[in-house]
Subunit: 214 residues, 2 copies
DNA sequence: TACTGTGAAGTGATTCACAGCG
DNA sequence: CGCTGTGAATCACTTCACAGTA
């Protein structure tokens, strides 16, 4: 009887579990059988109490006096968080950033598959990115997304087009949106939205720089 | 006698002030003279108490019964936070992502200037990106960064090279690093570091998706 | 003995709610 | 009267510290 947790783990915890999973896979490749929370903490640049608290969310699966068994812990994290579940994604916008994201090894990791890039420019449509992802006509987005069964849409279009792109993705049935345009989109009911405003990132960095002395 | 605040405003507040600044510039172009905290909140998708709390950090500059005077508020935010201060940045890594970032309008906004992209690949060195940013030899990074007076370094290299790239930037005297590699760098004393792990973003999104029903 | 699991304390940010001023 | 500025309440997350167990 699998427990169904709608909002079980916080975003912060999920992020740390994801990083933890990376370490665990590495440890597993190295053939390590078990690790303590403090060893894991050291790898993550965190502290052991944090690691234990995070892992406690998945039930009691450590062995007192010993630590956690690596393979078991890995499968447990995957099972309970959905981390590692394969997903198909599409990118809207075949500009510099869109193509970079589509080809990026960052986005091809552990079970993610970029199925298509969409653009409105007829000169781009029909082509392929460097790694072979097809560039499709944005007018066919709805049909293509359904056909491909894409669950995640990445928005990489100029700011004024962001809302429309996100709307189309939602209409086509994606369940999550990662938006890189400097203009927040959403919220949409039933859709997980993450806005990553690159402009905001540099501006904030510049300000923190000013605050820290110059 | 300007007040020198080392760690005056939190990161969260700075981000909101940055967004606020965007709205204010827009309002100023429209010739709006004053706004209330609730009008601003609506534009940001926030709430009025939050806006007032954020603005209170800059001193008392609202007019009770009326709101905030737009031009005055804008200059005050710029002055106190360093938002809007022109900065020179360099990008390390002339791959897809590096070039996309260097050419991105997101990074050319409001006073930011990308002065150079560095790469180790001799076939790339000597060229220019689409918008004309020169690609320089990574071996010359130290000298070039000092010469250009770059304060912010953007890391856009593969994970295994991230630490070395960041180290060189710090050695060359940059005061802030924006790292896009899926491997955290830093901390370095006296340097503001922001890690933006793209892989982590999609993975977390996938997990939140799983948590919310599928 | 060496570790986990967890209550309790601590920290920081957000929201509420209202007194006070133009 | 309408709006700001802000103390107090709330909430979310992190760290501490230790009882309890394999």
């Amino acid at each position: 009887m699998a427990r169904r947790r709608s909002t079980g783990v916080s975003e912060a915890t999920t992020q740390r579990l994801s990083l933890l999973l990376r370490s665990l896979r590495e440890l597993e490749r190295e053939g390590v059988g078990s690790v303590s929370s403090s060893e894991l903490a050291e790898r993550l640049g965190s502290n052991s109490a944090q690691v234990r608290k995070d892992l406690a969310q998945l039930g009691e699966l450590g062995v007192r006096g010993v630590g956690y068994r690596v393979p078991e812990l890995r499968t447990r994290i995957e099972g309970h968080t959905g981390l590692g579940t394969p997903r198909t994604l599409v990118v809207v916008g075949a500009g510099n950033l869109g193509k970079a994201l589509a080809d990026s090894p960052n986005f091809h990791s552990e079970g993610f598959r970029i199925a298509a890039v969409f653009d409105v420019d007829p000169r781009k449509v029909g082509g392929r990115t460097r790694t072979g992802v097809p560039v499709l006509d944005a007018a066919r987005l709805d049909a293509a997304v359904r056909e491909l069964g894409a669950a995640i849409g990445v928005v990489a279009v100029p700011a004024p087009a962001a809302r429309a792109a996100a709307d189309s993705l939602v209409a086509a049935g994606v369940k999550a949106i990662l938006n890189f345009a400097p203009h927040a989109v959403g919220p949409y009911p039933g859709v997980v939205v993450k806005n990553v405003d690159l402009t905001l990132l540099v501006e904030t960095l510049g300000a923190r720089l000013a605050a820290s002395g110059a």
